[in-house]
Amino acid sequence: MSDLFAFNGSQDAGYAQPDPISDEFAIPAALQRSKLPRWPRASEPEIVRHYTWLSTRSHGIDSGFYPLGSCTMKHNPRVNERIVQMPGMNDLHALSPASHLQGMMAIFHEMQEMLAHCAGMDTVTLQPVAGAQGEFTAMRCVQEYHRDIGQENRDKVIVPDSAHGTNPASAAMCGYEIIEIPSLDNGRLDLDALRAVVGDDTAAMMITNPSTLGLFEPEIAEAAEIVHEAGGQMYYDGANFNAILGKTNPGLMGFDAVHYNLHKTFSQPHGGGGPGAGPIGVKAHLSDYLPSPLVIAEEDEEGETWFDWYEPPKTIGKVQQWHGNSGATVRAWAFYRRYGRDLEKMSEHAVLNANYLRHRIMNPSKEVRDSIHAMPCDGAPADVVKHEFTLSMTPVKDATGVTGKDIAKRLLDFGYMAPTLYFPMIVPECLMFEPTETESKEAIDQFADDFLHILTEDPELVKTAPHDTPVKRVDEVWAARNLILRHPCDDE
């Protein structure tokens, strides 16, 4: 066990710095710091070892299969990390004149165009730095659009009960009232429920397609028609865009606005929780409201392309203070260049792998089947799924008392990250699997075999899992009751 605050070297044990170039500065007396923060007093060798030790107690995609549904944990190509460490990236200032940022703006412009094309949208901004911020930004644009055309009475946003939690949270932050509509028994969008709630107070419907069940909504165009006829806007949560790139697009389905998760579809590393990037694309009628600035391409007198900033005339202003997560944009650019027009293959393989994994889990050999206590059931019936699928562990729980959470924890013992647990909430004892396109057939076969094996194990062993992880099952309730949110840093 390595404790960062136990290092006990000198005050300046860390890295040596050049001396100040002047000591003629003064801090007003009332503002002078009397006691330095109790930060670690450690040297580079100690700090390197500390964080290396911590890394051995973490699990990334690099460590093993990571079928975390809805999160699209695909391989992160390493050249992308090399690129963002090159000169001309980390050392750029956002407020430098456009003449200093032409290469960066060329990448921004290409990404704006590429993303618009892939989603069937007219204009893209790269400013939002996370999917949730993209949702928020797009809903702000919708809000200003409605105010502009004299329809500020539209104060309700419709979301299906299977939606990501960020959808209602983002719309609520804009001030919208949320109307949640139930899904059909088969998990699909209920058009009658939608018809029952749309009206002249509908601002928008927010929906992801494929849905969080991993199922393509076959009646999406009809849903868009219903919302549009009522005068509302259609918002596409792009978290699941990975499944359909090149096959269809939100524009064809009737959407007016969409966000992209560059950290899902376009392989920006998730970094243990971020950074992500959540650019949004909109149809022309919403373009004037986008956050500022966008990048436009012009031709100078010599016919050379010149990139410049552009402020949309009715812009909502800023949602992040600079140009969004440029580093994520550059990584996503490098990722998309790797595929180019074959991005469609990426989606095909994401879907192929998900269906194959589902098939392998749900069709064990007779020998294995006979030793399983109970088989899970589909979260929703479907002939094919898209990039992810849900299974309900209810039959297993009924037969053995083993819950979805227990199985998730037991999977950790096999070196896997657990699937997404208990989401979407409409599937009881839900596990949601997303293998992504970068897993091999062998890895998927092995995972399926291990998963099925767990279903044969002594229920007590599974209920007390995990056993072989750096720590045993963590008491989350104790943490919330005691709220020890920092090291005491006691001087000993």
């Binding site: 100040p20 000591d23 330095l36 109790r38 992160n76 992880t469 949110l485």
Partner: protein
């Protein structure tokens, strides 16, 4: 040919196992009328080598602040990040992990974030920090909405917040976008001509939900008046202070003068200005705000053997549980950049932080002296103490000087303040961080002198 798909060429085998014959069989659920009719109109796939070459060409077209003397700050600061930091942070176990929903296999990142929370808490003088916000502006905006949730019911000025009139317009814009939905009324606090807050006007904020000020402010001014605010506004109005965290190596932590929430731009710890992102916002608060604060928080706990263990906690505030009643919509944050910040802070240590702050203060002071020696250049706030930044008034538009310095001297001179406030056409915001040396300052002073003479 794409090289990222392990099952390329093995589709038939996998399809056959499922009783299918073609990839198209997997997409039968997409109705004809919403299908694309044309393939994607994008360039052919490229190899790693080709992409790297093109990236080098494109990024090479940029002019970086490290390649020349640069006096541009204004919220993003040139800094030095020790080599160890990116090397360790890009270890795959950190880089390629998701949010640590499964604590048993995420102890490393959880502990690192708990340590980050501790270092931020120590730095700003408040007991609780979250795991990061997107940037300084969203941190400020969410601090304000958080304060309204905490104080809204009792406040005599319902849903009203007061914000320093000197905060940069882009931050004001973010605050507007984040607060308008809750119908929060944003009023401004005036400043005196010397750039300090007008303490006689602060009484107006009594009974409001929050006051937001910055230390140092947009002009780099350290304002001792901020120490007077809390007694004026009282217990039921949150004092929110935005900081440049490096300054806290010398400057009192806002927690010491009554701040309830401290926010700021973490960027100087951990990552270069990186064209404005990814960076990370700091958010720390006192205990009264914990249950209304946005973002992820790591808590210490124990495992089933009673061993020390970490986990995300207070999740019931968050969107994945509370949905539209969540305290914030934030899901993805900036954890990896916060991790880089933590590594940088840990390697600095207390003495290193103090020295880094001295280097910044020293560079600012030396630059100020050199420019004041020039005829026709005067300080906009001559009597103030500055950290990192100060504004000078010129006889001609600052934009003209910046073009001259850029074209003739290869110097990035600072921020033309008319970009923020049109009436400040002749004012230039000059920033000197620890990356500025004596030669840089001499070059800047000579450049400005040449420009001044060119107009005589």
């Amino acid at each position: 040919m794409v090289d990222q798909l392990p099952n390329l060429g093995r589709e038939a085998e996998m399809l056959e196992a499922m009783g299918m014959t073609s990839i198209d069989d997997l997409f039968t659920d997409i109705p004809e009328h919403v299908r694309r009719s044309e393939p994607l109109d994008l360039p052919p796939p490229q190899t790693e080598e080709e992409i790297l070459r093109e990236a080098r060409m494109l990024l090479g077209m940029n002019i970086s602040v490290d390649s020349r003397p640069s006096f541009l700050g204004a919220g993003l600061y040139s800094n030095y990040v020790p080599t160890m930091v990116p090397m360790l942070a890009t270890r795959g176990e950190f880089l390629t992990a998701y949010t640590p929903y499964q604590p048993e296999v995420s102890q490393g990142m959880l502990q690192a974030m708990w340590e980050f929370q501790t270092m931020v808490s120590e730095l700003v003088g408040l007991p609780v920090s979250n795991v990061s916000m997107y940037d300084a502006s969203t941190a400020a905006a969410e601090a304000l909405t958080c304060a309204v949730r905490v104080h809204g019911r009792k406040a005599s000025q319902k849903s009203t917040i007061y914000v320093s009139e000197l905060i940069p317009p882009h931050r004001m814009s973010v605050i507007h976008n984040y607060t308008q939905g809750a119908e929060i009324v944003v009023k401004t606090l005036p400043h005196n001509d010397d750039g300090m807050i007008d303490l006689t006007a602060v009484g107006a904020a009594e009974g409001a939900c929050a006051v937001y000020v910055e230390q140092p402010n947009s002009f780099g001014l350290l304002d001792p008046g901020l120490c007077e605010l809390k007694p004026i506004i009282g217990e039921n109005t949150a004092l929110i202070v935005g900081v440049q965290p490096v300054s806290l190596g010398l400057v009192a932590p806002p927690g010491d003068y009554g701040a309830d929430i401290v926010v700021g731009e973490g960027q100087p710890f951990g990552i270069g200005p990186t064209a404005g992102g990814p960076i990370y916002g700091l958010f720390a608060c006192s205990e009264a705000y914990i249950r209304q604060m946005p973002g992820r928080i790591v808590g210490l706990s124990k495992d089933s053997d009673g061993e020390r263990a970490f986990t995300l906690t207070l999740s019931t505030r968050e969107q994945h549980i509370r949905r539209h009643r969540a305290t914030s919509n934030i899901c993805s944050n900036e954890t990896l950049i916060a991790l880089m910040g933590a590594m940088h802070m840990a390697l600095l240590g207390p003495g290193g932080l103090e020295k880094l702050a001295q280097r910044n203060a020293g560079a600012c002071s030396a630059t100020k002296s050199a420019l004041l020696a020039l005829d026709e250049v005067e300080l906009v706030h001559p009597n103030g103490s500055h950290f990192n930044e100060f504004a000078i008034r010129l006889p001609r538009p600052a934009a003209d000087l910046l073009s001259f310095l850029d074209d003739e001297c290869d110097i990035t001179g600072g921020l033309d303040l008319s970009q923020w406030w049109p009436e400040r056409e002749n004012e230039l915001l000059v920033c000197a961080t620890d990356q500025i040396d004596i030669e840089d300052i001499e070059e800047l002073a000579e450049g400005i002198q040449d420009w001044l003479e060119g107009y005589e």
